[in-house]
């Protein structure tokens, strides 16, 4: 038994110090890490693909009118699975390497996005105009006052 205690001591000594001084030293995450959700609102066309696949339904879509869509992301419910990044054809949403996203305010984790959409002349629902020229014709696109 003394023998095994001696071995245990050796094992512990050989391991040495294994703890880090974090948060007093930075611990950057490695590429591929699924961290904070970032949305590039310029690239987002409002297609709603991310809302369709989101397992926690933290992306909600409201069509205020046939030409006006609001996308709300309640990221306090986000489980960082990265499905939105997978399905986004426009590269408008991705998960970056930042993991220090704990906050005392829910509004820090809330992204609201207002989009002017094309309106389908047959069904009347919002759709993403297929080309930039069509997007220029979208109602409200050149307006500067709040809708």
């Amino acid at each position: 038994m003394v023998d095994s205690k001696f071995k245990q001591l050796l094992l512990a000594l050989r391991a040495g110090k294994v703890t880090f001084a974090y948060p007093f030293e930075p611990r950057p995450s490695e590429p591929g890490f699924r961290g904070r959700v970032v949305v590039d609102t310029d690239k987002c066309t409002g297609c709603g693909g991310c809302a369709d696949v989101c397992p926690t339904r933290c992306i909600r879509i409201v069509d205020v009118s046939p030409t006006y869509r609001i996308i709300r992301r309640y990221l306090e419910r986000c489980i960082h699975c990265g499905r939105c990044e997978d399905v986004c054809r426009y590269g408008a949403v991705w998960l970056d390497l930042e993991y220090e996203i704990a906050t005392t305010s829910k509004s820090d984790l809330f992204i609201e996005q207002h989009l002017f959409m094309g309106s389908c002349s047959r069904c009347g629902r919002c759709y993403v105009p297929p080309n930039p020229l069509d997007r220029l014709m979208v109602v409200g696109f050149r307006k500067d006052e709040e809708v």
């Binding site: 205690k5 696949v53 489980i79 990265g82």
Partner: protein, 579 residues
């Protein structure tokens, strides 16, 4: 390796036995693949059929599932699942039921392992198992309104009925002259609340009662009413915080089986690799916690130190240290690229070396071994009757391992041994877990070798436009704690019609009372509970009620640990004195 011929023979034997003994009562036999058998029978012969499968043909009981099929054919359905482990066959007894409330003879007197499953479908579907030896509620909270059954299709997923708080759970009456030791149910620090009432005479355990399901979150309901096939994957992964990937893999495989999707080989190998990394970290975590309970914090610290690099490796490979989110129906989401192979090999190599060193010192530590040896005896026959799985069963010399018996993912392409121990006690179950770490390392190495040979990029199968509705799929995965079983009955609207999950602890916790053999003391209770690897939350707080004086005393986690540790210290003194 099991061949198709053998399994066909087993199926023939089962079918012949059922048809001969039940005759006309067997309504239909379906065999969608050589490894699956669905036998539809009349409700009045279900006990006979279960007896044939369980006792005559020695099939292992898996789980039962209720189903509300009223929107489809106006009735209910119960499925009892059995497995023929040596022949790679899983068999389901399908019993259509009519009437409301539907009634079915209980199979629990014949198959004791079905106890909880039958109580659960009674609670959630209102299907009454007649003749059940323990007809108390299981899953529903105390005071849930009568006549409301949450998993029925007409119950909205977001409806929260008012509870009658005056009702309490009908606990078992303790035997005359015993003291009740209550462990649980609410723990502010750790997860998974459950309540264990242990009846003790002096210090000796003489009986027990269990009340769990305090944290039943209706995950199955969400799966069949709100989410879509690929969203359920991420919910399934979050069923367990330690072995999540096994649930998502098992669910994906069940859907893939129902839809007839063939997963690319590279995706299968990646699943295998990730599952083995999960097993390594889970077993090291368990080893640390078991030693912690016994008051041996040195091993707790060391095994968690050894474990940490696996978590970092998982984060490096999948993007998250625990919820890997790597599975989808049809394949995996991320490739393990060439430049990641070397680091994977280095990490598992280091873990193998360090675990070996640690195991070497621990297994020569006399007080530790003395605490484990001879406690929590669990005989092979008891394993069969309770349906225990995983290291709990393998510690009793029963070589059941889903990876070998029902190969899934790439397990038929890798070589490894099923670790068994004949001790039947806590020590045997500990040894199984320690040796399994080395087998897992072996598998990880072979997976990396296969990944090096396979072409990169082929990760997802071509999915059909729609997953065909109303088909069965059942699949299991060997989790660190035992077999995880998922059953999916596909439905319309891109979501399962019914999704049934059975975690290994579901059967293993039912097996704990039989491990309390005469002579077990309170100090042995934590490690015996621990030896089946449930979550240790149960030891957070405990209450002692002395029936003779009516006095109530609340013990904390620390005091329970103290009892356990004092016994270790006492043993150590005895051993030193003797030597």
């Amino acid at each position: 390796m099991v061949t198709i011929e053998q399994s066909t023979e087993q199926i023939n034997q089962a079918v012949a036995a059922l048809q001969e003994r039940l005759g006309e009562k067997v309504r239909a036999i379906e065999q969608p693949t050589p490894h699956r058998l669905y036998v539809t029978i009349d409700p009045d012969v279900v006990v006979q059929a279960a007896d044939i499968l369980f006792n005559d043909l020695r099939a292992r009981y898996l789980i039962s599932a209720g189903m509300d099929k009223r929107p489809l054919n106006g009735g209910f359905e119960v499925l009892h699942f059995f497995a023929f482990d040596r022949a790679n066959v899983r068999c389901a007894l399908v019993i259509p039921l009519s009437g409301d409330p539907p009634r079915i003879p209980s199979i629990t007197p014949t198959v004791p392992a079905a106890g909880w499953a039958e109580r659960e479908f009674r609670d959630l579907f209102g299907i009454i198992p007649e003749g059940h030896p323990d007809p108390r509620p299981l899953a529903l909270p105390d005071g849930f309104p009568e006549g409301l059954y949450p998993l029925r299709k007409d119950f909205p997923y977001d409806y929260k009925p008012p509870l009658d708080h005056s009702k309490t759970f009908p606990f078992k009456e303790p035997p005359e002259g015993t003291t009740v030791v209550t462990v649980g149910p609410f723990f502010p620090v750790l997860e998974e609340p459950s309540q264990w009432r242990i009846f003790v005479d002096g210090e000796i355990v003489v009986g027990w009662d269990y009340r769990g399901f305090y944290n039943h979150r209706a995950i199955e309901k969400l799966g069949d009413s709100v989410l879509t096939y690929n969203q359920v994957v991420f919910l399934a992964e979050r069923i367990c915080g330690i072995c999540g990937c096994v649930h998502s893999t098992s669910y994906c495989q069940a859907v893939e089986e129902a839809a007839g999707i063939e997963v690319p080989l590279r995706a299968k190998v990646i699943r295998t690799l990730i599952l083995e990394l999960e097993r390594i970290h889970s077993h090291l975590l368990w080893l640390g916690l078991a030693c912690h309970i016994l008051g041996f914090d040195y091993a707790f610290m060391q095994s968690w130190r050894i474990r940490e690099p696996v978590m970092w490796l998982a984060e490096y490979l999948t993007g998250s240290r625990k919820h890997f989110s790597i599975n989808l129906v049809g394949g995996v989401r991320r490739d393990i690229k060439k430049e990641q192979h070397q680091r994977t090999l280095e990490v598992v190599g280091k873990i193998e070396r360090e675990t070996k060193e640690l195991a070497d010192t621990l297994l020569n530590d006399m007080p530790l071994i003395a605490r484990l040896r001879g406690t929590g005896i669990f005989t092979p026959e008891e394993v069969r009757l309770t349906g225990a799985v995983g290291p709990t069963a393998r510690g009793s010399g029963i070589a059941i391992d889903v990876r070998k018996d029902h190969p899934y993912a790439a397990y038929d392409l890798v070589e490894f041994d099923v670790v068994t121990q004949d001790g039947c006690d806590n020590l045997a179950r500990t040894l199984v877990r320690v040796y399994e770490i080395f087998e897992s390392v072996k598998i990880v190495r072979q997976c990396i070798k296969m990944l090096q040979e396979l072409p990169e990029g082929d990760l997802m199968a071509e999915l059909p436009e729609e997953i065909p509705p109303y088909r069965h799929g059942m699949h299991a995965v060997e989790a660190p704690r035992g077999e995880v079983f998922h059953y999916v009955f596909t439905g319309e609207n891109n979501r399962p019609y019914r999704w049934r999950v059975r975690a290994p602890s579901y059967q293993n916790i039912q097996a704990v009372p039989v491990m309390f053999k005469p002579g077990t003391t309170i100090a042995d209770v934590p490690i015996t509970l621990g030896s089946v690897d449930p979550c240790f939350s149960c030891t957070e707080r405990m209450e002692v009620i002395d029936i003779r004086s009516g006095e109530t005393k609340v013990l904390t986690e620390q005091e329970l640990y103290r009892l356990s540790r004092e016994k270790t210290a006492e043993l150590r003194k005895q051993l030193e004195g003797g030597a």
